[in-house]
Structures are given as structure tokens and as C-alpha cells.
């Protein structure tokens, strides 16, 4: 047995040094026997954890559940041999409709976007892109660029979705620190009022940095700032054209 195979147990209990951990993860991708061994040691770990179980503070449960409320899990990976999501919730329907053969291949980019849209129940924001086939070539190129940008965001390993709620309507922020980008989408925000617009702010070290502004209704817009440094995104109602400092109150916000 070579040195690298010997690392499975050490890897499973996080006892490898940083460089070694990455090297072993490379190896894991190609070695089924090490994957199996790591999985077994993970079960051992779960039993060891059982030995030191203690009740968490009740407030922690609230915090955890508040953190996921109104957000959607990421869609099932097309390439993974994971069990298909049962059609219990209609949100998973897009994923289920892919047959076994297709799930073994990477999804075409547009389908991947559609899955995410389906999962997040956002309405037809990406499909809208598809319907304008008669636009000029220039526009098509722009769309392709847009699609690429979107795919880069959705494909980022650290992509997160955060729901911001406003009067029962939801806008979803899809963000990735790695890509440094965020997209905000909504199938319909309430009218912010005559001469008013919504504006987003990236919270960086507690300071609100002004970002995009938009009116109510259907929203699909990229944030201008780099979300890499932002801890949260907040939304206010501002005069049309936006402001440099936020007009309180903050009507909605989400941590990134």
C-alpha cells in the first residue's frame, strides 16, 4: 500500500497538514477504495461525536432556521449519481425531469440556469433571454456574454442564494465571493412609490456602499460592486436615480 492510500484515516479526522489535505483530495477523485475508506471513517467519526453530544442553546435553532428561511437549496448536481429529488415539491420538478442518461453528463449551460431558476422559483427571468431570437447579432453577442457571466456565477463553487423579503414578495440575491459578483432577481417587487426606486447597498466593514437602483416589478440586475468584501446586502427606498447615503429604514437585508 503506498503512502498516499495510508492517508485516508488521517484525512477523515482532519489530521493532515494543509498541503497534504489538498493532495489527498486530488487523489480521492481517482481512488474509489480511498473514498470508501474515508466514508467508513466518517461513520466512526459520527459515533465519536455521539460520545460528546450536548444540547445546543435553543436560540441557535432559531438562528439556523432563520438563516435558510425563504431560500432554496442548490439544485441536484447533474453529474452526481445522487438519488433524484422526489417530485414532492414542485420546485424540484425541473431536476426530476432529467432522465438518467442526461444526469450523467454536465447540463448545457442554459438548462443549468433554468434548473436554478426552477429551484429558486424566480419566474421566467432567464427564459426571457431566450425569446428575443430576432434581435440583431450584436444583441445576441451581448446575450451570450450575459449568459457566460451568469454561468460563471452559477458555476462558482461558493455560490449562495439569499432571499430578501419585502411585503411578502421575495427578491433573491445570487452571489459568489470567488466570482466577486452578485445578481438580484425578483418576479415582482411592490411599487416603491411615485418618484422612488429601490437601491441596494453592500455592507463593507459596517459601511453601506451604494450599489444598483431599480424600480418595482420584475427585477433582474447585476450588482456593480465587488461582493468579495461585503458582509451583507441591504435594500432601501430612495429618490429615482439613487443616493450616496441610505435613506432609512432599511426595508430588507440579507447576510452574504
Amino acid at each position: 500500500m503506498s503512502e498516499i492510500h495510508d492517508s485516508a484515516a488521517l484525512y477523515a479526522v482532519d489530521a493532515l497538514e494543509p498541503g497534504e489535505r489538498e493532495a489527498f483530495e486530488e487523489h480521492l477523485r481517482e481512488c474509489a477504495s480511498c473514498r470508501r475508506e474515508v466514508a467508513e471513517y466518517a461513520e466512526v467519526g459520527a459515533q465519536l461525536a455521539d460520545g460528546v453530544a450536548q444540547a445546543p442553546p435553543p436560540s441557535l435553532r432559531e438562528d439556523v432556521l432563520a438563516g435558510i428561511r425563504g431560500t432554496a437549496p442548490l439544485p441536484a448536481l447533474p453529474g452526481a449519481p445522487a438519488a433524484p429529488v422526489p417530485p414532492a415539491g414542485d420546485r424540484g420538478a425541473t431536476v426530476v425531469s432529467l432522465d438518467g442518461r442526461r444526469r450523467r453528463r454536465p447540463l448545457p449551460a442554459a438548462a443549468a440556469a433554468a434548473v436554478l431558476v426552477g429551484a429558486a422559483a424566480l419566474g421566467g427571468w432567464a427564459l426571457g433571454v431566450q425569446t428575443e431570437q430576432r434581435q440583431q447579432e450584436q444583441l445576441a453577442a451581448q446575450e451570450e456574454q450575459e449568459q457566460t457571466r451568469q454561468n460563471r456565477l452559477l458555476g462558482a463553487p461558493d455560490v449562495v442564494t439569499r432571499a430578501i423579503e419585502l411585503d411578502g414578495r421575495t427578491a433573491t440575491v445570487v452571489a459568489s465571493r470567488q466570482a466577486g459578483e452578485a445578481l438580484v432577481v425578483s418576479s415582482g417587487l411592490p411599487d416603491p412609490g411615485e418618484g422612488r426606486e429601490y437601491q441596494l447597498w453592500l455592507m463593507e466593514d459596517g459601511v453601506p456602499v451604494p450599489d444598483v437602483h431599480f424600480s418595482g416589478g420584475e427585477v433582474r440586475t447585476w450588482l456593480e460592486g465587488d461582493v468579495g468584501d461585503a458582509a451583507a446586502v441591504a435594500m432601501t427606498v430612495e429618490p429615482v436615480g439613487g443616493s450616496q447615503t441610505p435613506t432609512l429604514p432599511v426595508v430588507a437585508s440579507a447576510e452574504l
Binding site: D6, R36, G51, V52, G89, G92
Partner: protein, 199 residues
């Protein structure tokens, strides 16, 4: 999970122990069912939190770890692959990894400030095990650990409950690196047998 039959058996036992079945609850979570996910939390949080407290020795950091673990679990719930192991093992793996990374991050910062070696080297390893034994609730795990030789138990406790890397285990036990690695490995392997996992 080695043989297909073994895996099913473990899942089956988990279902009896912890109704309703965690795998089914997580699948429902993957479809956006928040209530199902709340049940996943209720059935697993004591172990995840306990582990995080044990490794980080800080209820505050442990609470953050728990938040991160469940947020990650929610986001990845539709991607969870039951072929690779149980839900509980997955959550504990996430919690252990996050806890260890947090501890090492704090350590690195401290080391940078103080400019001298490992600050955590003072606690004798034997106390580690006694500390674990004091809080240990499960007879099964205790029996499993008792099946190890004392030197294996020491090494496994340092690695799993203290979050030590093999290098730190070697330092703490004052043994060569290869010896430390072998003790962790052999100890885990014996535990795997004693606890009846796989093979």
C-alpha cells in the same frame, strides 16, 4: 460503506433509532421543505454542537460552526449522495472540518503574534482522554475506545476530539511523525472494527 448490504443495514438501523429517517428528511429538504430540515436539525444538532464545542472549546465559535454546517447542509441537501454514507456522518464531517479549521486559524494568528511554537502543547494527552471520558455519554463509544490500546486511544482522542494534526500529535506525544501517524491510523482502524462500521 463497503458492501452494498452493509450500507443498507446501517441506514435501516438509523431509521429505527431516529425516526423519521434522516435520509428521507434531507431529500425533502433538498426540495425546499424547511420543516423537514428543522427535523434534520433537531435529530442531529446535539452531536454537531457537542463535537464543535469539544474541538473548539468555545460555545461561541461552536455556535458559528453549527450555523455554517447547517447552512451548507441546506444548500447542498439536494446534492447529498446517500451512497457515500449517512446524513449524520456527513454533518459530523462538515462540523469537524470547520471546527478544526477554526482552531488552526486561531492558532496561526496566535503563533504569529507570539513567535514561538505550539501554545497548545501544554495539556498532557492523558488529560485529553480523561476529559472526553468525563463528558462521554454513550456506552457504545466508550466501549469502542476502551477496545484500543492506551497509546492508540490517546492518539485518536488528540486527533478527533482536540483537532490535532498528525504533526501536533507527534509533538504532544513526543514521538516521531511516522509513529504518530501509525497510532492514529491503527486506532481508527480498530475503532472501525469495534464499532462495526463497514467491512
Amino acid at each position: 460503506m463497503t458492501e452494498p448490504g452493509t450500507g443498507t443495514g446501517r441506514e435501516g438501523r438509523a431509521a429505527v433509532d431516529e425516526q423519521p429517517d434522516l435520509g428521507a428528511l434531507l431529500r425533502r429538504s433538498g426540495a425546499g421543505d424547511e420543516a423537514a430540515f428543522a427535523q434534520v436539525y433537531d435529530l442531529t444538532a446535539a452531536k454537531v454542537y457537542g463535537l464543535a464545542v469539544r474541538v473548539t472549546r468555545s460555545p461561541e465559535i461552536a455556535a458559528e460552526v453549527v450555523q455554517e454546517v447547517y447552512l451548507m447542509a441546506w444548500q447542498q441537501s439536494a446534492r447529498f449522495d446517500p451512497e457515500r454514507g449517512t446524513v449524520l456522518a456527513w454533518l459530523c464531517t462538515l462540523a469537524h472540518r470547520r471546527s478544526v479549521d477554526r482552531v488552526r486559524q486561531v492558532q496561526r494568528e496566535r503563533d504569529r503574534e507570539q513567535q514561538y511554537g505550539s501554545v497548545r502543547a501544554e495539556i498532557p494527552a492523558d488529560e485529553t482522554w480523561q476529559g472526553v471520558e468525563r463528558v462521554m455519554e454513550t456506552q457504545e463509544v466508550r466501549a469502542g475506545l476502551d477496545a484500543l490500546t492506551p497509546i492508540q486511544r490517546e492518539a485518536v482522542s488528540l486527533a478527533y476530539y482536540e483537532g490535532c494534526s498528525h504533526r501536533e500529535v507527534a509533538q504532544r506525544l513526543d514521538v516521531p511523525l511516522g509513529t504518530a501517524k501509525a497510532r492514529i491510523r491503527d486506532g481508527l482502524s480498530s475503532l472501525r472494527t469495534a464499532l462495526g462500521v463497514g467491512r
